[in-house]
Symmetry: C2
Subunit: 312 residues, 2 copies
């Protein structure tokens, strides 16, 4: 079933030990959409400027992504400049030009109204809440956020969290949100804020899902967490968008399944890792544009092989 | 088959957010022996001082550990003082009194000569090499080391590494030893130094094994790494000895099996995680003295459940 994603479609200027790119297509909604598009139809709500060309749009439409919710505004698109050093586990932001994103007012096209899966990418929680309230009929809502919103927009964020099915954030963010260093205690605290399920991304160490009594609507009780591996990679060319690609693979798979079961959720975590591992192999969206479904299945099997006792 | 371990039997004075203990029984060889004792017979070579009582020895002998290789010397036993703060992912050493360990000359009792599995716990690589050379007939040698030996005793360490079947160290150590930030590249470099297999411990994120062409003597080729999870724990009382307990569970299981196969190696990685997860539940050796084989199997299944797609 279709996923509706609201978030940034932007340009990134990135420098890593493997090279540099200037104004390549990026943004959370872009990475998410491409990754999810291999599993399920995706519809995007975003705003771009006059520098967003037909060629940029084709990157999304070629993957079947519905772009009619991408609004064109006067001015330039959101532009992020950043660099990675050493082990590249943290981005250093050198510049954030919000441009047309500054006055972004998400509008939901009528054709998107029947979307059953909503993804609130990492944007102002006030905007996340506004989109959410316009989609009362969705079956599932998954969301992301970041340190900036946790620190300075906690009231608006709290409203979004109350109503989330899945919150997908990284280690540092969950510890910051809970103000607690222990991951399990932090996860419990975050689950008490509203999300039915919490997925914590650990970068090169994989991801952990924490479940509440409300994780599975069908009465399934799961109290154990679930850990999915990341693929050890000899070369990470550009980590930008890895988390959004994880989210896309994860949520795209979930949305493609008839029912949310523990097995489906676990498999989705693996597909998240798979799409994240592809994303970092090239700069920008390059790898996610060209990966094939066969390569995805092959890598899924590789993830199983490196983590399952009977895998070899 | 029997494991021979050489390493420290010591006293630890530890402070963590959960309390403090003074002069509790510790040391790498102690934690290793207790953890391994649930899988296979263990023989210890170490030196202790006059403060090591029959009661301390009984902690080991009650678990069937052969202590005739523990030499008594005049003076006090090795004593480590340390503390953990915050997320407790790093120990802060407040004092290291080598005492009788300063002049330790490992001697191998005749009764130990037929040991087929040797574990070189984290001690001076010159001593590790000396013990190794006296045990030419062993089937397998597994070793540990730490930043201090990597930095200041690299020549002696290089000699030990050349001849190791398995090197078991943590993330920071492998990156330091290889002088390389990327884990895969660092692992490749360390494998080129000699160890047939490298197991990297990631603390709360589990562990990864990297295999070389020489990992399995029987012609089995494995180029994929293997990742074992750690159990997310709401309470870590005392992380001291977690790595040694991992090594004990891992190597104890390996030594208990008739043959080294990829499946045996994977299972050993899981048992390593299991024993590490018990070790941190109480101060010092308390938990590893009292755990039962049933609890170990139960937790092994839990590790499988939290990491396997079909686990729930």
């Amino acid at each position: 079933m279709s996923i509706l994603v609201v978030g940034s479609v932007a340009f990134d200027s990135i420098e890593t030990p493997h090279g540099a790119v200037d104004h390549c297509l990026g943004g959370a909604a872009t990475h998410f959409s491409l990754a999810a598009s291999y599993f399920t139809p995706v519809r995007v709500i975003a705003v771009v400027g006059e520098d967003f060309t037909a060629q940029h749009e084709a990157v999304l439409t070629k993957r079947g992504v519905d772009t009619q919710g991408i609004e064109r505004a006067k001015g330039l698109s959101f532009h992020w400049t950043g660099s990675y050093e050493g082990n590249m586990d943290e981005a250093k932001t050198l510049g954030t030009d919000l441009n047309v994103f500054q006055t972004f007012e998400p509008k939901i096209p009528d054709a998107y109204a029947d979307s059953k899966f909503l993804f609130l990418a990492n944007i102002d929680p006030a905007l996340q809440a506004r989109v959410r309230s316009q989609m009362p009929q969705v079956r599932m809502v998954c969301g992301d956020t970041m340190n900036y919103w946790i620190a300075d927009h906690s009231e608006n964020l709290a409203k979004v969290l109350r109503d989330l099915d899945v919150l997908l954030i990284n280690d540092g963010e969950v510890r910051m949100l809970a103000d607690e260093r222990n991951l399990v205690l932090a996860a419990e605290k975050v689950l008490s804020m509203g999300p039915k399920t919490l997925v914590v991304k650990h970068g090169e160490y994989g991801a952990t899902a924490f479940f509440s009594d409300r994780s599975f609507g069908n009465g399934t009780k799961i109290s154990r967490p679930f850990r999915a591996p990341a693929l050890p990679l000899a070369e990470v060319v550009d980590p930008t968008g890895a988390g959004d690609s994880f989210a896309g693979g994860f949520y795209g798979y979930l949305a493609s399944q008839p029912e949310l079961t523990p097995a489906v959720f676990r498999t989705a975590m693996f597909y998240g890792g798979v799409m994240g591992s592809f994303a970092v192999e090239r700069f920008g969206t390059e790898r996610l544009q060209s990966v094939t479904r066969e390569e995805i299945e092959e890598r899924f099997n590789l993830f199983k092989e490196i983590s399952h006792l009977e895998g070899a």
